[in-house]
Amino acid sequence: MEQTLSAKLKSISVGLYYTMPEVILSLGIVAVVVFSFFLRNRKTNVPALLTLGVFIASIAYATLSWTFYRTPVSLFGNMVRADQFSAYFRILADVAAGLTVLMALRSKDLSEKLSSEFYVFLISAVLGSHLLMMSTNLIMVFISLEVLSISSYILAGYKFSRKGAEGSLKYFLFGSAASAIMLYGFSILFGITGTLEFTSATFTNNLSTNQSALVIVSSMMAFAGFLYKIAAAPMHIWAPDVYEGSPMPVIAFLSVVPKLAGIVVLIKLVMAFALTTVQFDWQLVLAIIAMITIGIGNFSALWQNSARRMMAYSSIAQSGFLLIGVVCLTPQSMQALLFYSAVYMASNYAVFIALQAFEKNSIDSIPLFGGVGRSFILISIVLLLALVSLTGIPPTGGFTSKLFMFASLWASYAQTGKTILLWLLVFGLLNTVVSLFYYLKIPYYTFLKTPGSTLPSENTAFENFLAVILVTGILFLFIRPDFLMGWLNTVNFVL
């Protein structure tokens, strides 16, 4: 007993080296909280810069120790696993959070009331998503999902207005109901398998030997929590209200980071079920969910007049496209998913940064965009390119990423010959055309309508600068996709 205990403690201290980004984030939370005690002037930018430093340190550590993660290691008694797949998504989450800090510095929704606590919740949300991406144990999945969710509920209400409070309440009620259903599913799965480590052989073996309808029902319940996090079909209803009532930087964050975290853990869970011999077609269910999600997102987005609500439905549709990667579950589709997530993150942030710049000049509903292309030339062009990238037409990285995604879906269809995959492919392609109509609605107003009376009243140079960098990245990925893809090819998929 003594021997094994000391071995356990030793492995815990080794685990700290692998989870150094998470340690940095936790220390960052404490640092920002303690720092804000000694803060006299609440208008200072120091907490923001401190937070930015925390994210940069986390990115730097993860990038420098990239080869460190080549062989996956289970840490803390199989609670989490560090591998390159999750390391990549953790870096993406950190980059997104860094961009959120930059947006928050210039946000009108936040600037008056911005306190250092905002950054505490931002860091804790990122910490939750990091742990969620790494977790291999249902305890860790639940706890890190709750860390992410609780921070998101608070962040979503940070506008401190009627609408903000309402969006936050709806987000909270939907979210906690979804996670309670998920937990009930977990508890049944625990009863059937006798273990909580869902990547272990015991879990899959016990599921295979005890197959029944209850296995399917309980795993459906378990999926509910993740479908809610990524805003996929039956659990998407909260998205438009939250997007309308939250500050712009928070929306940008919520549309990327929880989504990626949910997708990563969904992949791990589906992988565990796919390894069993249960006679149940997971691909069929997930493909139907993906199709419904894409359809609802796209067709509801067509009727929206508010730019925020349109982007909410757009993000629902995009999670349907991300689900395609989960449906295929081949190494090729995983690479397509990695590429897609990077491009989605960049284009989504570019769009939201541009929308924030427009909203500062009180342009928020789509008709108000009429003719603003003349007075806001640079930011309108950037918005056009970012929206084109979200649609998936050349010359942007969005085209390349959709191409990779559909190519992997086609390859998967050719390999398995399942007709549902072909249906998904056709449906996805058709919906790319549908999405053209709403994505290009704003650029149509900005460039082709008669000039409006709005003139730039606020300085948006910083937003322009940020958005131009992101859009340059998107364009670069169209010309040289191999730059990122070559790196992604080295990522190990031991799932």
């Binding site: 609670m79 921070s151 009627r162």
Partner: protein, 166 residues
């Protein structure tokens, strides 16, 4: 003897949970919740989870319930009317409820659950302490951070410092 106690606690918990559905007063619902949770703690004791049972009573009866009752009082201060709650979708919800309950119970009966004879080990509290600091140290630490976040978050969200009067 312990089987009889188990039945009593189970019936209490079940009846309390079901009557929450039928009461119209939020305050009564909160009191029924407390009955349900304390009887559940009794069930936990019989299933050899004494530590969880004590936590359940301390945290739920002492924490969550006080929170909920504070919430009820603070959010009905100005309205001045009794805390009647209306219901919606009663028929579809009861159909869904009865259907899902019966089918879940049937599925539970058919299911072969994992079973492995477990040897009774030493002092449960010592074991709990050692496990919290070795096997479960990561969730333990993360939950600690979560408590900090929730504390800060509740304070920021409920404070009138940020909320402008409209």
């Amino acid at each position: 003897m312990s089987l009889l106690t188990l039945y009593v606690f189970e019936c209490l918990a079940g009846v309390a949970a079901l009557s929450i559905l039928f009461v119209r007063n939020v305050f009564h619902a909160a009191l029924l919740l407390i009955v349900c949770l304390i009887s559940l703690a009794g069930v936990f004791v019989i299933y050899n989870a004494e530590f969880i049972a004590v936590t359940q009573i301390l945290v739920y009866a002492g924490g969550v319930l006080v929170l909920i009752i504070f919430g009820i009082m603070l959010s009905s201060r100005l309205a001045g009317k009794p805390l009647q709650v209306k219901s919606q979708y009663v028929l579809p919800a009861s159909l869904i409820g009865i259907f899902s309950a019966t089918s879940l119970i049937q599925l539970f009966y058919k299911q072969q659950f994992f079973q492995q004879p477990v040897a009774k080990a030493g002092n449960p509290i010592t074991q709990t302490g050692i496990a919290l600091m070795s096997d479960f140290v990561l969730p333990f630490e993360v939950v600690g951070l979560l408590l900090l976040i929730a504390l800060l978050g509740a304070a920021v969200t409920a404070s009138s410092f940020y909320t402008k009067k409209q």
